[in-house]
Symmetry: D2
Subunit: 150 residues, 4 copies
């Protein structure tokens, strides 16, 4: 295919992760993440600020770790892909929501930093980047991905 779909974010959680479960019993976590950019208006010289809210979705082990260690205000590094999802509201209007399906997360502290225990890299499925030294790597857990209807 030769295509790439990647999102990298560092931001603050707007609320604690909401943890749910699929029919198959797999955990799914949802939360929002805020990134803020600031700049100085060239004309008026005044400081400006804009916040972007991102919808983060995590599955399986990453969902569990986030559910356990992340809180409102946590600062995290997130890596994932963009995925849009169509849904129809009660008003009968079809809408599209764009979400980031995360597959890597690192806790960076922040206002309400979590337990020391959580200060690690966490990945969806097999670790790839940080967690993959040249020798002695470990396979990890088995997950059935079928049926994640949320």
């Amino acid at each position: 295919m030769a295509t790439l779909n990647k999102v990298t974010l560092i931001g603050y959680l707007g609320h604690a992760p909401e943890l749910r479960y699929t029919n198959g019993g797999d955990p799914v976590a949802h939360f929002t993440l805020a990134t803020t950019e600031t700049w100085k208006d060239k004309a008026t010289g005044e400081k400006k600020e804009a916040t972007e809210w991102h919808r983060i979705v995590m599955y399986r082990k990453l969902a569990e770790i986030s559910g356990e260690f992340l809180k409102k205000g946590s600062l995290v590094y997130i890596e994932g892909k963009l995925q849009s999802r169509k849904w129809t509201g009660k008003d009968g209007v079809e809408r599209v929501t764009v979400e980031i399906i995360a597959d890597d997360m690192r806790m960076l502290g922040g206002r309400h930093a979590g337990h020391e225990d959580g200060q690690q890299a966490a990945h969806d499925a097999e670790p790839r980047h940080q967690s993959a030294p040249a020798k002695g790597r470990q396979p990890q857990f088995e997950y059935e991905d079928d049926a994640i209807p949320f």
Copy 2:
């Protein structure tokens, strides 16, 4: 701040860039970009494929270059940030559109690869990444690299 909002894509243009102009006369380009992932269904063993469409927006010089060299089917590398935008349709319903505001683009060829002339990196505003070689880059900056013992 300490936040980061970054998207990295490699994909195919769904249509040639639409070039418009702001009131101030600055060019703005819009196009869609397809990324496709393929996988094999664990249960049935059949090949699966899913395509994600991304809405790309470019300004100024990057918009001009894209308008000139990119076509339907072009393969490009895009770097930018996520930005959501609210708008109200003719039906009076408010919706949110998520776009990627690009600030870096590289042509990678594809089915209808553009001119050789366009086979370069292009950036919004001042170059940052690729554009700072060790020696002889910019007149306003002469550095003797020989003696950097670190």
Copy 3:
């Protein structure tokens, strides 16, 4: 061209930035950055850890900001490119040193987090990423976002 050379790091400074000046008077900062990965040895089950040290180089404004706000132990996000440099030691042996020429830096706190004033994104040359919000950013660019039906 169509090439890309990019490094993204989050790590801890091994020592405060060393600030020097080129003949032309431009500031250059050097420091080392540690990234650490941990894993569990599959066979023995024991915890393993490996630290990688990266040589970071910054120029101009980014060098100044880092010289002012970063210390030993600071946690930072760094973006840049790989660049190798040949040099001959006093022993007459030629060696190659690989450095990361940074063009983006964000302070993330860490043990000895810097001033609040330093808690911002900093870029080499003109800002590109974070710095281009949808409205009201720059005087030289007025865009009416209301009517971008795409």
Copy 4:
């Protein structure tokens, strides 16, 4: 840990991958990758160009795929981490080599584009990014990582 060590490259292979095997029988591929940046000298106005050569290392399945499909001149997207390795030459001098341990590769074509069959994303270990749709994902292969001494 909260650290990150990531390299992203798009470049051309300097030579076909050299495929070797560890004592444990696992494949390891080595090749060099060229990234080139071009700029115009502000003072003289002449075109400048600098090429950076990166040492890429791949293991297991990624090594196999690369050994099969990549050639001299292939254009690829590479993702991985920086890792330095000390070694002592026949002259008794200790040197450090910095390599990129790749965990993701996408073929982008290039001068001598490979088989159509190879035009896919390939990952080290479990797929994470592109290859991880919401449903029906697949675990993949089992590899014993022990003993990769090259």
